[in-house]
Symmetry: C2
Subunit: 217 residues, 2 copies
């Protein structure tokens, strides 16, 4: 069985691996908040359970089994987040941290009930797609707001979920999944994007704009 630590390593590798390049020890260490030495040790252990392949000094890659395990943890995480927002009414900026703990402890039976109660939802509160039971996941077709030029318009499809302050700010300015956005201008020197969202004009810093994905229309 995979421990909580195992699941967190696999999930982090999955996220860093998008595109199938090998993930470096230091990138993984940074993502998990541990030292590279700890990562080296865990990778040796995890490669024994066939969820990943580690080539010394060359990085890690998940196996098919590891990828499935990662997607199952992500499914749990996202269903739990949505459940906490929709059923328990928790604020969307706090559910990421909660789900981070619960995802390792909720049984399949509970997860299944949540899925049914929520009507087999496709996305979590931040717009991220929820993988299916067997590891299928919709590839989202969005572009970062930071990369759009003046004149572009579209719908917010997803926002970065980790930073509560950022999420509260995004709610404040109505820049949440589903919102219609039009790009008025992009300031060349610092990347600030000027947009219209729900009838109001806003200036959005480059940092914020790169945490918001838009599906252009």
């Amino acid at each position: 069985m995979l421990t909580t630590a195992d699941q967190n390593y696999i999930k982090a590798i999955y996220r860093l691996q998008l595109g199938n390049e090998a993930v470096s020890t230091s990138a993984l260490a940074a993502a998990l908040g541990v030292t590279p030495a700890s990562v080296s040790g865990m990778l040796r252990k995890l490669s024994r359970s066939n969820v990943l392949i580690h080539q010394r000094y060359k990085g890690v890659r998940l196996t098919a089994r590891g990828r499935l395990a990662a997607l199952q943890v992500i499914r749990r995480h996202r269903l739990i987040e949505l459940f906490l927002v929709e059923i328990l009414g928790l604020p969307w900026d706090s559910v990421h941290k909660e789900a981070e703990r619960l995802e390792h402890v909720v049984s399949d039976e509970i997860l299944e009930r949540m899925d049914v109660l929520l009507g087999h939802p496709a996305v979590d509160p931040h717009g991220a797609p929820i993988p299916s039971h067997n590891g299928r996941i919709a590839s989202h077709a969005g572009v970062r707001l930071a990369e759009l030029d003046a004149g572009a318009r579209g719908t917010v499809s997803e926002v970065a979920d980790h930073d509560p302050d950022l999420l509260r700010y995004l709610s404040d300015i109505r820049l949440t999944p589903g919102a219609e956005v039009a790009v008025i201008d992009r300031l060349p020197f610092d990347g600030t994007v000027v947009i219209t969202v729900s009838g109001r004009q806003q200036h959005v810093s480059a940092g914020v704009a790169s945490a918001v994905w838009i599906e252009t229309t």
Copy 2:
């Protein structure tokens, strides 16, 4: 902070201590499914955090702090059980085990939402009282069905929660919290109790009858 193991030890001591006598190392070991040697070690550690007082060779007692901690864990456990039954629709015989894991991981915020959503309930699905936030708990006035004589009548107030098979059986025969029961007879040789519950006459073994508490009317 108290770890999961800490919480389980404190909860077990609380349960074994009802009446305030000291709890023996071996009783605790049996309740927790570990060896007495492990208990000795943990007690030394726990006494350092002022939740209990351990007198070597004489047993343990919770301090006021320990008692509060125990009641808070029990509150979590029972609220979670009820939530799983009422909101997620899990069968009442499976929620004990689930709550046993979740009680250590659910945040105070989530617990508070569950409490509100359930309307500040007084008892869990097995009829056990839910302690308040600050450790107050209703003392239940029930008597074991096994101790009642012919002619007694009353309402099921609580049933033992740990054995799923027993719980399924109790549902089958409608002997669940709230049910009206009349004792027809008690067989002297093996303690079998003959009762009427929801219009039907049933024979209930002594073992089962001592897992059911009745509030006589």
